[in-house]
């Protein structure tokens, strides 16, 4: 009994508790005020719709998951390479930063019509949108990690005759890994945003497409699709967090060491 109560009050259980509470309030609100399911369907209605239309929802969710992961993978490869390059070369950093900031400020919805002109509709624009929205945090984080090597450590290595490449491989890249993994968590959720945005305009498959189609028609299914995206994003986030913990245990446990200068 004691352990059970302790579990209920533990941080591990807290998200379930809060989510369940939220759903309860939502359900009560819809029922007590008799809200129309075309405005805001109750959680039970959505769940019902999810089960009933599962095949249709899943086909679209699969598409979204695919374009998201593909765009995210591209962002990881590209972001890592560009981040290391920018972090290692002050010249590149100066040269590319305004461009990157500018590009990041463009709302990616505005990009989709351009992509339609260039590559048509479907999978490709969704992947590109997911990519373009998610690579920025990876680049910035990796570049920060690489660029902020302690000058004294650099001196120790340089006084040994280390070349720029040695410093990069032995120190800069390993020390930027915590930054990199932290950025993955942000990037994966952004990638979902990107692919769904693209699908609402330029696709005939995918969660975004389904939602636009269902708006005003099958609102419970629209909400079911929406919630599935959220669930998928949470799962992917969890995977990223797991990978992060696995590879950078030294950064979290070595709080005193890394803490002062890197902010971990």
């Amino acid at each position: 009994m004691g352990t059970f109560w302790r579990f209920l009050r533990s941080p591990a259980f807290a998200p379930w508790l809060i989510t369940a509470g939220l759903l309860l309030v939502w359900e009560a609100y819809c029922r007590l005020l008799d809200v129309s399911p075309f405005v805001l369907p109750a959680p039970t209605t959505i769940a019902h719709s999810m089960v009933r239309f599962w095949p249709a929802i899943w086909i679209n969710a699969e598409q979204t998951l695919f374009t998201t992961v593909a765009g995210f993978a591209l962002a990881v490869g590209f972001g890592l390479a560009l981040g290391v390059a920018i972090g290692a070369s002050p010249w590149l950093y100066q040269a590319l930063y305004p461009l990157l900031i500018g590009f990041n400020a463009i709302p990616k919805v505005a990009l989709v019509p351009v992509l339609i002109v260039w590559v048509g509709i479907g999978t490709i624009p969704a992947i590109i949108t997911a990519f373009s929205i998610s690579f920025f945090p990876i680049v910035v984080n990796v570049a920060t990690g690489v660029a902020t090597v302690e000058p004294e450590l650099r001196d120790v290595l340089r006084s040994l005759g280390a070349r720029q490449r040695d410093i990069l491989v032995k120190v800069a890249i390993p020390r930027s890994l915590p930054y990199f993994f932290a950025s993955l968590k942000i990037a994966i959720t952004l990638a979902f945003v990107g692919s769904v945005i693209s699908e609402t305009v330029a696709a005939n498959r995918g969660i975004g497409y389904l939602m636009v189609k269902d708006a005003g028609e099958n609102v419970p299914r629209m909400f079911a699709a929406l919630i599935l995206v959220a669930v998928l994003a949470v799962v992917m986030y969890g995977v990223a967090a797991l990978v992060e913990r696995r590879f950078t245990h030294w950064a979290t446990r070595g709080v005193d060491q890394a803490g002062g200068t890197t902010g971990f």
Binding site: E150, E152, L153, D155, V156, L157, R158, S159, L160, G161, A162, D166, K170, V171, P174, R175, L177, T248, W250, A251, R253, G254, V255, D256, Q257, A258
Partner: protein, 276 residues
């Protein structure tokens, strides 16, 4: 012994700093940059242990950067072992106030780092890793870190990290060891313990050593010669030979001749600081 080293120093010093000036930021910078050193001349004989003291910001760390080749002088000449220093030397080991170990490497792997970079070890490293690891273990054992090889640096205390950092500076058997306030962040007991560790290593290997410190007792305890630098722009204003017999012992660190030397240095530094 100290006398012999000093004689060598006058003939052809191993480290030869001749009328050196260094300006940070360059003359083009706003306000002309910071003149850290000017007319600075210092020779260090081979195998000699020199301590450098002086007011804060007078250019002691800068001096070490010059000797190691990390920073070129704006004027004058720096030579080590008869050759002008134009780029980072490879015969140097360095340690700083902050031990700056790599937190993702074990203590052993941290100590091995220089061997992965410096030739000729670099090209042999993969093949002879076991032998090198054995060498690192022995070195760690001499500073009482046996049994901590597989720990991560952040699992060690500050003093233990500093000892590991000394090992890293010495693993490739450098001819020249440059230490920038390596013990400044430690408590008095650990610091004195590490004095003996460093003294023992030096007596055994006889590398040339330049130690920057704020602790005058540390300077007198360890060095053959103590050099006092003036306020910025720094130059050498006093060279004090320390003739005390070796190995020096903590028990003697309150003896009359020891304390007298500390007072001489202390007076000189206050005088230099007043001159600002």
């Amino acid at each position: 012994m100290a006398g012999q080293a000093a004689a060598q120093a006058t003939a052809s010093p191993f480290v030869d700093i001749a009328d050196v000036a260094l300006t940070y930021g360059g003359a083009a910078a706003k306000g002309g940059g910071t003149l850290a050193l000017e007319h600075c001349t210092l020779g260090v004989g081979k195998g000699e242990f020199v301590a450098v003291v002086g007011p804060s910001g007078c250019g002691k760390s800068t001096l070490l950067k010059l000797v190691s080749g990390l920073h070129p002088p704006s004027a004058g000449r720096v030579a080590v072992d008869g050759e002008a220093v134009t780029r980072p030397l490879k015969i140097v080991g360095m340690a700083f106030q902050n031990p700056i170990m790599l937190p993702w490497r074990t203590t052993l792997a941290n100590v091995l780092l220089p061997l992965e970079i410096v030739e000729p070890h670099r090209s042999r490293f993969r093949r002879e890793r076991a032998a090198y690891a054995e060498r690192a273990r022995r070195l760690l054992a001499t500073v009482n870190l046996a049994g901590f090889e597989e720990r991560f640096p952040w699992q060690l205390s500050g003093g233990m990290q500093q000892r590991a950092s000394l090992c890293r500076a010495l693993i490739h058997e450098p001819e020249l060891l440059l230490l920038d306030e390596p013990f400044a962040a430690l408590d008095a007991f650990t610091r004195e313990e590490l004095w003996d560790v460093l003294q023992a290593l030096w007596l055994e290997r006889r590398f040339t050593c330049v130690l920057v410190t704020h602790d005058l007792r540390e300077a007198v305890y360890l060095a053959d010669r103590v050099v006092v630098i003036s306020n910025r722009p720094g130059r050498v204003v006093m060279e004090q030979a320390v003739g005390l017999p070796r190995p020096r012992r903590l028990a003697n660190a309150w003896d009359r001749d020891f304390v007298d030397l500390v007072h001489v240095l202390r007076d000189k530094i206050s005088e230099v600081r007043q001159a600002a």
